[in-house]
């Protein structure tokens, strides 16, 4: 009898996984039974013609000790909803994230750090989410393309399955049983378990199902990208070669050497943009003024970089909240020794535009992503905005392209949690951090104090991700930190 463990964020998710696997077993002539050890630990016994298996669920990660080292290491990158683990071999077989949340706004990206963490460790990963969701305004929304594109890029780079599957349809939003996603997910998971316990390679005989899954991902991107962005590199290949490209991704997932069509999902330089997109690039107004964001917009107008859309929403905050957060940020700012040249905290509530109902805008630019052709240009712009950094920022990669990501959050510590870590890991991956040559990644936090990221701070999920994915962080007052080198500028 083979014994595996299902570690899960909650017992419900672990139990749900086992029950779905049990359904497949029973449909194929096997049996599935569950007993509850100690009155609460689900122990599922699965019998098939080929093997017998026991799956024990450990729900609520934080409840258990010791958490296996392999599980703990994965959780430090964000907590998947469930993980299949062989304690004897100390091996994770797969990890899964699933969500019932309406895939709108920040929700769509807020779990993406979990995709990154698993892919980085070459753990097969599936993300099951609703393609169609009902917004609180009653309208139907469709999922963002970003998690899917992120998963495609991670598959190719890490040579491991990294798959986004959708459930629901427009008639049945958020309905797990509508669409193919649920069935496709558990068919794959059962196949992996089956391969593993019978001594085969875990992806044995999965080429066809992986191809189908990548094909559905590519078709989803093809049908949805125009709702999100102005252009998609390689869009023409999606139309003409999606079956061939799906096979390439399936091959990559199985670790085979593959070469995608040139520049497929690789974001170009300004000069290579489609004419109709390049023509639309112009400086745009900010919602809340910020010296660096103003210059980023100027640079777009001058053709030094570009944005993909300008639909960042503003979620105004109450006056009391802003006052409290500004005070906390100021205390944080001066909680460390002074820098040379000195940096000044100058956020004031009067900086924040007031809405009609008396709340305050914190959103600066309507874009949170800028793609620069050259670090040289962005570096000069940062130095122009914050003269204290003049001549200090590293220039060895001046000719490299750069992603500038902005988080306007003002709540202390928030940038290290949801949804910002998910956004940052998604955008860094999607826009080229792992490409050859890699794009640099700079994150700008106009309302956050640098002391939260100083070297020596206790690691959290956000710092772990930022250490790996960013080249430079810029904080309020123009303080810059490289988490990779530990330099503070």
């Amino acid at each position: 009898m083979i014994e595996l463990e299902i570690w899960a964020d909650s017992f419900h998710e672990g139990e749900w996984c086992c029950n779905q696997l049990g359904t497949i077993v029973c449909q194929n002539g096997g049996t599935h039974q569950v007993v509850y050890k100690n009155g609460f630990i689900p122990v599922h016994t699965i019998q098939t013609p080929d093997f017998n298996l026991v799956l024990t669920v450990y729900g609520s990660y934080k409840s258990w000790s010791p958490i296996p080292k392999e599980i703990s290491a994965l959780l430090s990158w964000g907590k998947p909803d469930f993980i299949a683990y062989d304690a004897k071999a100390k091996k994770i077989l797969f990890a899964v994230e699933e969500t019932a949340a309406v895939p709108t706004g920040n929700q769509a990206l807020q779990r993406c750090e979990r995709i990154f963490g698993s892919a980085r460790k070459k753990i097969p990963f599936w993300y099951l989410l609703s393609e169609f969701g009902q917004h609180k305004d009653g309208g139907i929304r469709r999922d963002s393309i970003w998690p899917t594109i992120m998963a495609l890029k991670l598959t190719y780079v890490n040579k491991t399955p990294c798959v986004v599957l959708h459930y629901s349809d427009s008639e049945n939003p958020e309905n797990y049983t509508a669409g193919n996603g649920l069935k496709s997910l558990f068919t794959s998971l059962f196949k992996i378990i089956s391969n593993y316990v019978t001594g085969k390679s875990i992806l044995h005989d999965m080429s066809s199902s992986l191809k189908d899954q990548y094909q559905s991902m590519l078709e989803f991107v093809h049908s949805q990208w125009q709702e999100i962005i102005d252009f998609l590199p390689g869009e023409e290949n999606l139309l003409s070669d999606s079956s061939k490209i799906a096979q390439l991704y399936a091959d990559a997932a199985e670790g085979k050497p593959t070469v995608l069509p040139e520049n497929f999902l690789v974001w170009p330089k300004v000069i290579e943009l489609p004419e109709q997109v390049a023509e639309k690039l112009k400086e745009k107004e900010l919602i809340k003024d910020d010296i660096l964001c103003r210059l980023l917009e100027r640079d777009v107008g001058q053709g030094k970089g570009y944005c993909l859309s300008d639909n960042a929403g503003s979620k105004p905050q109450t006056k009391a909240s802003i006052i409290s957060w500004v005070k906390e940020q100021k205390e944080l700012f001066y909680a460390a020794p002074a820098l040379t040249p000195p940096a000044k905290f100058d956020i004031d509530i009067s900086d924040f535009p007031v809405t009609k109902n008396g709340n305050y805008h914190v959103t600066t630019s309507k874009n949170i992503v800028y793609l620069y052709d050259r670090w040289h240009d962005l570096r000069q712009t940062i130095e122009e905005a914050y003269p204290r950094l003049h001549g200090k920022l590293p220039s060895t990669r001046d000719e490299d392209s750069v992603l500038m990501y902005i988080s306007n959050s003002i709540t202390p510590g928030r940038i290290f949690g949801d949804p910002y870590t998910g956004q940052l890991s998604a955008f860094a991956t999607i826009f080229g951090k792992l490409d050859h040559p890699p794009r640099m990644v700079v994150a700008y936090f106009p309302h956050q104090s640098h002391t939260q990221a100083l070297p020596g701070k206790r690691k959290n999920k956000g710092l772990t991700l930022m250490s790996e994915l960013t080249d430079l962080l810029i904080f309020t007052g123009g303080v810059a930190i490289s988490l990779q080198t530990g330099e503070v500028y």
Partner: protein
């Protein structure tokens, strides 16, 4: 099988009780509040046995930890859970939890036109507390907790029964969990159905 020790968290205390409810023929879970997944709606069966949505919680809407329904006993139980009784009786927690119970009870009473809820809008609502315990709580501690909640739950709308339910998920020395039920007093929840009847109707120890 590898051996792991566990902390008696709210999740484990609640989950142990959910298992008992799921094994019962007379009760079902209309809503539970784990961290994620396809469980963030109040669901119920219509007269043909088809399951459907009764209420969908908004992202920022306060939710109870567990909502139980019994068509046999015409009862709804709305439970708040914590890993200890002590954590349930801080002033801020009592007010928050009591408001969740009252607002959900009010909402469910207005759902008669929902096909999946229908006549359940007239069922009696019982407020409940569920806690984890490494040591058995005393009668005095439980009564103090019930009393604290009753002062918040009693109002002119008569949204819920004056009798409160307590579920203690007790962890024994061997790591086993057993669930024991208590009520604030033994009066009638509705005519002919007392606090004692409620405990007998639930799949818990008394």
């Amino acid at each position: 099988m590898a051996s792991y020790s566990f902390k008696l968290t709210e999740e484990i205390a609640r989950w142990a009780f959910e298992i008992l409810i799921n094994q019962s023929q007379e009760w079902y879970i209309a809503f539970t509040n784990p961290t994620a997944g396809p469980w963030k709606r109040v669901m119920a069966l219509d007269e043909t046995g088809l399951e459907g949505e009764v209420h969908r919680f908004a992202r920022d809407e306060e939710r109870p930890d567990l909502l139980l329904v019994s068509d046999k006993y015409r009862l709804i139980i709305i439970l708040e859970a914590k890993d200890s009784l002590t954590k349930l009786i801080t002033d801020s927690q009592i007010e928050k939890s009591a408001n969740v119970v009252l607002s959900l009870a009010r909402l469910l009473k207005e759902k008669e036109s929902n096909n999946f809820w229908g006549k359940r809008a007239h069922y009696t609502v019982v407020a409940g507390l569920l806690w984890g315990a490494e040591q058995r709580t005393t009668e005095k501690e439980r009564q103090e907790a019930f009393k604290a909640y009753q002062s918040y739950l009693t109002n002119e709308e008569n949204l819920c029964s004056p009798i409160l339910l307590g579920i203690e998920s007790y962890r024994d020395k061997e790591g086993g969990i057993t669930c024991t039920g208590y009520v604030s007093h033994q009066g009638e929840i509705y005519e002919g159905f007392t606090g004692k009847s409620l405990l007998e109707a639930l799949p818990v120890q008394m």
